[in-house]
């Protein structure tokens, strides 16, 4: 791109904030009551985690990875291809990225690479808190920032809470793999930049979650170099 230094983020924003949030409203109307199913699946992750722990089993991570994979795949199909691509040509590429993340999660489930044990330290508990914020807090942002509740962004339906929930689970895992973090972190940077350019009040939320996840994972030196 010639004279690339003369471009600012706003030069790349192709849509208005009204159009951006309207996509969630349209999607929510189309897929209702899938939001209830998505939230139930999201809540199943900590429920199963806790139950497995009590039963002395350590494979809750497999179920979590499969649920997260389903969420990423659905977001890729229903939101990124079904709506976002209509207003931004990058939608199809991000959909491919979300599908790839779903494959990575399925692979992690198959190889039991997402080890969910008792979050015994502050790092693990912070990861769980991040997941809870994504699941419960994110839809409520709509009300907090005076947007119509019909535009609520729900885990498994909209990308931002799905990404944040994934960051929380990966950060809470005993030995997270870096491959599971790359695409969520890229999306956090992209979505944060989009919201910042639109002057959305919650623009800093996802980048902050990304920063927290990096700190949590790196904090104890628990990051594994690669999936084997």
């Amino acid at each position: 791109m010639p004279e690339w230094w003369t471009y600012s983020l706003s030069d790349f924003l192709m849509f208005s904030s009204r159009t951006y949030y309207r996509q969630f409203e349209l999607l929510n109307a189309e897929v209702w009551p899938a939001q209830v199913v998505a939230l139930a699946l999201g809540l199943a992750i900590p429920a199963l985690w806790w139950r497995k722990l009590r039963a002395g089993q350590v494979h809750a991570g497999r179920i979590a990875a499969i649920i997260l994979a389903a969420a990423w795949l659905w977001v890729a199909w229903a939101y990124l291809l079904g709506h976002y691509d209509d207003i931004n040509w990058t939608g199809k590429y991000f959909a491919a990225g979300f599908a790839l993340q779903a494959l990575l999660l399925i692979f992690a489930a198959a190889r039991n690479h997402l080890l969910l044990r008792r979050p015994g330290d502050g790092f693990g508990r912070a990861g769980v808190a991040l997941f809870a914020l994504a699941l419960i807090g994110y839809p409520l942002l709509t009300i907090l920032f005076h947007r119509p509740w019909t535009q609520a962004e729900v885990f498994g339906i909209a990308p931002d809470p799905t990404v944040m929930a994934t960051l929380g689970i990966v950060a809470a895992a005993a030995r997270p793999h870096w491959q599971l973090l790359v695409l969520p972190l890229i999306w956090c940077a992209y979505s944060g930049a989009t919201l910042w350019t639109m002057e959305s009040p919650d623009a800093a939320l996802l980048p902050a979650a990304a920063g927290l996840a990096i700190v949590l994972v790196a904090g104890k030196g628990r990051l594994l170099p690669a999936i084997h």
Partner: protein, 307 residues
């Protein structure tokens, strides 16, 4: 599309007139004649205010928003507007325009301005064909090379298309002052009908070379980003309209900004974008009434710079 009015065109005009009669009083008031400027290469007259579609018409498949864009187009045509400008780079703007034109029975007044924006340039014809299908028009009036991307190859194609009657005019575009040196060089060497660039009360670099050159070379000039994507109007909204605005019959800062632009003798048409019917009506009002003279233009620029 063409100046000649066919039976079908006459029928469409009649429907448009009926449609205009059904518009709210504010929009109807816009049927007053608008100031036009000739395209130097043919003498065809264009209203000095057109309609841009960057961001505003990129609403996806949202039927409610598409209908709102159609309302904007309806008010635009009812107010005497003609030129609508878009690009393959503008997301869903092209199909949204096509949707609106279909709802409005393809107003014969339409002057369809598009762009080609693709590399390699060999894919240009395919992209222009896709754009035409989105608009659902038999041909574009004006095809421009967007931001000078692969301009040499695209211009060769466009001149051949013009020769074959597939388009009527050829142009190039830039925005926000980018590549003005290259732009000037192309203007000096190519037989362009149109150039499109950024010019507004704060971004006046084009005054020094490009606008005088366009006059010398007999090229029509389309002005993009007249309000800096709304930044100017938002900023000026905090300040009262000066007394001299009444001298040029302006009731808003947007009208002052537009009159400043279209009163430049080299400018053919400004293309503000909007999602609101009242704004398109207000913009078209700036295409009528007295225009600022050189002294007032200088005063407007000095005043806005100080704010």
């Amino acid at each position: 599309m063409t100046p000649r009015l066919s039976r079908r065109g006459l029928l469409r005009s009649s429907f448009a007139a009926v449609g205009a009669a059904l518009l709210p009083p504010m929009a109807r008031a816009q049927s007053a004649p608008v100031l036009t400027r000739p395209v130097p290469s043919t003498g065809e007259k264009l209203p000095v205010v057109g309609l841009g579609t960057w961001i505003t018409f990129n609403v996806g498949n949202d039927v409610v928003a598409r209908d709102a864009c159609t309302d904007v187009m309806r008010a635009f045509f009812a107010g005497g507007g003609r030129l609508i400008d878009s690009s393959p780079m503008y997301g869903s703007s092209q199909p949204v325009i096509g949707y609106g034109l279909g709802k409005l029975n393809h107003p014969p007044a339409l002057f369809a301005a598009e762009k080609v924006w693709i590399t390699p340039a060999s894919r240009g014809r395919g992209q222009m064909d896709a754009s035409r299908r989105y608009w659902n028009v038999p041909r574009f009036d004006l095809m421009q090379v967007h931001n000078l991307l692969a301009w040499e190859e695209h211009l060769r194609t466009l001149f051949a298309m013009k020769e074959a009657g597939q388009i009527r005019y050829v142009g190039i575009t830039t925005s926000e002052g980018r590549r003005h040196r290259d732009f000037e060089q192309i203007m000096r060497t190519q037989p362009l009908d149109f150039v499109q660039l950024t010019y507004n009360v704060l971004d006046r670099e084009a005054e020094s070379r490009l606008l005088p050159l366009a006059r010398d070379r007999g090229m029509a000039v389309i002005i993009n980003r007249p309000f800096r994507e709304g930044e100017l109007t938002r900023k000026l909204a905090r300040h009262p309209l000066p007394g001299w605005a009444a001298e040029i019959e302006c009731k808003s800062w947007a009208q002052v900004m537009l009159k400043f632009i279209v009163s430049h003798p080299a400018v053919t048409c400004a293309i503000p974008a909007t999602t609101r019917v009242d704004h398109v009506t207000e913009n078209l009002r700036a295409a009528g009434g007295p225009m600022p003279d050189d002294a007032l233009r200088a005063r407007i620029a000095a005043h806005v710079e100080k704010l």
